[in-house]
């Protein structure tokens, strides 16, 4: 009887041990990805995961979604502080990448980048903007061109133009004829939250180049620098040329209102905002890309930086707190491969991976890729700056467009500089 009990206990123990081992083995193959992304962005991730798992059946990717309103960094921080230990995190803010790196959460993938040959898929400029303090923590997988101007070709034809103006002066010169042609506001300036800063940021890039954007983002130069003042002066020229409606209209306009005024109400002509307008124009306005609407490259200022672009990008970062670094690296490699890149392109997004089959893109998306490939890229300032400075920067610009005069340039920049001094 006693030996029967002993053997039962031993058998149970062995069984539990085996179960434990198998559970451990299974856990080792699990890759956890933490994200806040929803909608089409999430769908792309899901499709990438399906494709990856089909190619690597020994791995299973689990996506943990953080629900968040407004700035998703809050939700991501809360999840990480609350004990989440993902292998991968999605990110879109270089400032947040630095914060995560400083907190010891990220893993440097520089050796993996070399061993897996990611340079073949990503141009140097993408590696540059993915670098924080000399280390690379992940890969960009989706980008959006933010130096493009959305317009309706038929509007320009009304004033005798067959193509989008290439110089800034020519661009400003379209405002008067467009107004005379019956359009209430040549530029629909969405200043309700943040989109009014898009014009300024590309002007900053065109005026001082990528170095200026990087240095300003890191606060290596002051906001009161003459180059920044010159960018703001060029910004003021838009208003001087009567680009827009009055300040109340701009403050009441979000980017979707602006898009509606151009493509539905046909009362405005130009909008500078990200690539999500492409999806909106196709699915909501039922317009044909390249024919009913188009994307113009931001006009040249002639200061040597006219091919540089402002972009937004989503990246997947590797962490050092997850349990499956090998699986995480394999997933990153798959995202950059032709299979992964084509999944992204088929979903209507643009990818920095050169492994993509470019014929998948529609004419507008293809144009945006072409513009971006012409020169250096930098992130939008809203993603580069510390969170506490972003609000103040956008607010100062918002108030500047209410009074876009030469006399208001210095006070506006001093105000941002004072906020920057507190933020870094």
């Amino acid at each position: 009887m006693r030996s029967y009990r002993t053997s039962t206990v031993v058998a149970l123990g062995l069984g539990l041990a085996l179960l434990g081992t198998s559970a451990f083995a299974e856990a080792a193959k699990d890759i956890t990805l933490l994200t806040w992304l929803g909608g089409p962005d999430r769908k792309v991730l899901d499709t990438l995961v399906t494709g990856f798992q089909a190619k690597h059946p020994d791995y299973k990717v689990k996506i943990n979604v953080v629900t968040s309103q407004g700035d998703a960094r809050g939700g991501m921080r809360t999840a990480l502080m609350g004990g989440e230990k993902p292998d991968l995190v999605t990110n879109t803010w270089p400032a947040f990448r630095k914060e995560l790196a400083d907190a010891g959460i990220l893993r440097d993938v520089t050796p993996v980048w070399t061993s897996k040959g990611w340079d073949k898929s990503l141009a140097k400029t993408w590696r540059d903007i993915s670098t924080t303090g000399g280390s690379v923590y992940g890969i960009p997988y989706i980008f959006g061109y933010r130096s493009g101007i959305w317009y309706v070709p038929a509007d320009l034809q009304k004033i005798g133009l067959q193509a989008f103006p290439t110089s800034y002066d020519d661009f400003l010169a379209t405002f008067d004829p467009l107004r005379k042609a019956g359009f209430a506001e040549p530029i629909a300036m969405p200043a309700k939250v943040y989109a009014h800063s898009e014009w300024f940021e590309t002007l900053l890039m065109r005026t001082g180049g990528p170095g200026l954007v990087t240095d300003l983002g890191a606060h290596k130069i002051a906001w009161t620098d003459p180059k920044v003042a010159e960018a703001l002066r060029q910004y003021a020229r838009l208003f001087g040329a009567k680009c827009c409606g009055d300040s109340k209209l701009m403050y009441a306009t979000h980017w979707d209102d602006a898009a509606d005024r151009i493509f539905v109400e046909r009362k405005a002509n130009f909008l500078q905002i990200g690539m999500w307008i492409n999806a909106r124009a196709i699915s909501q306005y039922h317009l044909k890309p390249g024919t009913d609407y188009s994307l113009g490259k931001f006009p040249a200022l002639g200061r040597g930086f006219d091919n540089a672009s402002i972009i937004d990008a989503k990246e997947i970062l590797a962490t050092g707190i997850g349990s499956n670094p090998d699986g995480a690296d394999a997933f990153l490699d798959y995202v950059l491969s032709a299979d992964g890149a084509n999944i992204i392109a088929k979903a209507g997004f643009t990818t920095p991976s050169s492994s993509v089959d470019a014929s998948i893109y529609d004419p507008v998306a293809a144009a945006s890729v072409r513009f971006v490939n012409e020169g250096d890229v930098r992130f939008v300032l809203g993603d580069l700056l510390p969170g506490s400075l972003v609000d103040e920067y956008r607010l100062a610009l918002q108030q500047f467009i209410g009074n876009p005069t030469e006399a208001n340039i210095a006070p506006t920049l001093e105000r941002i500089e004072a906020a920057a001094a507190r933020a870094y």
């Binding site: 309700k192 701009m250 005024r261």
Partner: protein, 318 residues
């Protein structure tokens, strides 16, 4: 033998007398009354402690620390509070919150109370009408915000501007959410629309509780409907309206969702309430300590408003 039983009542008899299911006379209670009460209250105390007391204590604790993003927290004592009261943005939000709270309460309670008084003359015929108005109270503030964004949109795409143009008042059309004053007024109207159902319900219940004999006597004495409303229904429905004022004040003080959706605090922070400031500092700038200090200030404000009202209600209950 006396007809009156002079013996002391057995334990539990008092409870039985009040109608509560106490032990039968002659049987001892297996647990003292106070212990039973404590046992029954324990789940509520636990839940209240976990969902209310603990978060408040934790928020209070965090308010004494500087926490920036994922960086190492630093104890700063009362610095966050001192900074708050020298921060013009926060002081501006206090003022905005005051205007918003008073505005919403006046508009919502006045409309709700007036409709309740009018409906009292024909309660049955107006039941669908009352139900429709009360339904707005069931709509979340975020949804209300999205509905009113459509109304206040700039250009002819906005319902309000479109209507003004349609009736020949196109000159009055404007970007309602683009001006500091018009945006705050728009916000008050939206929040009042969302809140009006509660004052209506409470005031209507108060009006319905007025004894019919009083109204009939007034009618027999030749009182006109307006006089009856002013001299009888208004004063006698005051208790319901008072509760409505108190509840609307409290919910308006804490306003966040409607501000977030409708104006995002703009233009240029003109409609930023303390609730929105707290969110912006804590969740978008991740200044958790500073945001927590603002939360505690808001909590004190809510307590200042609610304590006298609760004290009065409690006194009334005695």
């Amino acid at each position: 033998m006396s007809a009156v039983d002079t013996r002391l009542p057995p334990p539990g008899a008092r409870a039985a007398h009040r109608g509560s299911p106490g032990p039968a006379p002659g049987r001892r209670a297996w647990m003292p009354e106070s212990a039973t009460a404590l046992l029954l209250l324990t789940p509520v105390i636990l839940l209240f402690g976990l969902s209310v007391i603990y978060p408040v204590i934790e928020t209070l604790r965090i308010s004494f620390w500087e926490i920036r993003g994922l960086g190492r927290p630093r104890f700063v004592g009362f610095d966050n509070y001192l900074r708050l009261f020298s921060d013009p943005v926060f002081l501006g939000t206090l003022w905005t919150t005051l205007i918003f709270t008073v505005g919403v309460t006046i508009v919502a309670v006045t409309i709700g109370w007036t409709i309740a008084l009018l409906c009292a003359f024909a309660p049955r015929q107006t039941s669908i009408f009352r139900l429709m108005i009360f339904a707005t109270f069931g709509i979340s503030e975020a949804v209300a915000g999205y509905i009113w964004i459509g109304i206040f949109r700039p250009g002819d795409a906005g319902l309000l501007n479109g209507m003004l143009s349609a009736i020949g008042l196109a000159d009055l059309a404007q970007p309602w959410l683009g001006g500091a004053n018009s945006a705050l007024i728009a916000l008050i109207i939206t929040a009042a629309w969302s809140a009006v159902g509660l004052p209506l319900l409470l005031s209507f219940a108060s009006v319905q509780a007025i004894p019919r004999s009083i109204l009939e006597a007034a009618y027999m004495d030749g009182a006109k409907p307006l006089a009856m409303m002013w001299h009888i229904m208004v004063p006698l429905s005051l208790p319901g309206a008072r509760v409505a004022i108190f509840l609307t004040l409290l919910s308006s003080l804490r306003a966040f969702d409607i501000v977030f959706v409708l104006t995002a605090g703009g233009p240029a922070r003109a409609t930023e309430t303390v609730g929105f400031f707290m969110y912006r500092e804590s969740m978008t700038q991740f200044n958790l300590g500073y945001g927590a200090a603002a939360t505690i200030i808001l909590l004190i404000g809510v307590l200042l408003v609610s304590t006298p009202a609760i004290a009065q209600r409690t006194k009334g209950a005695k």
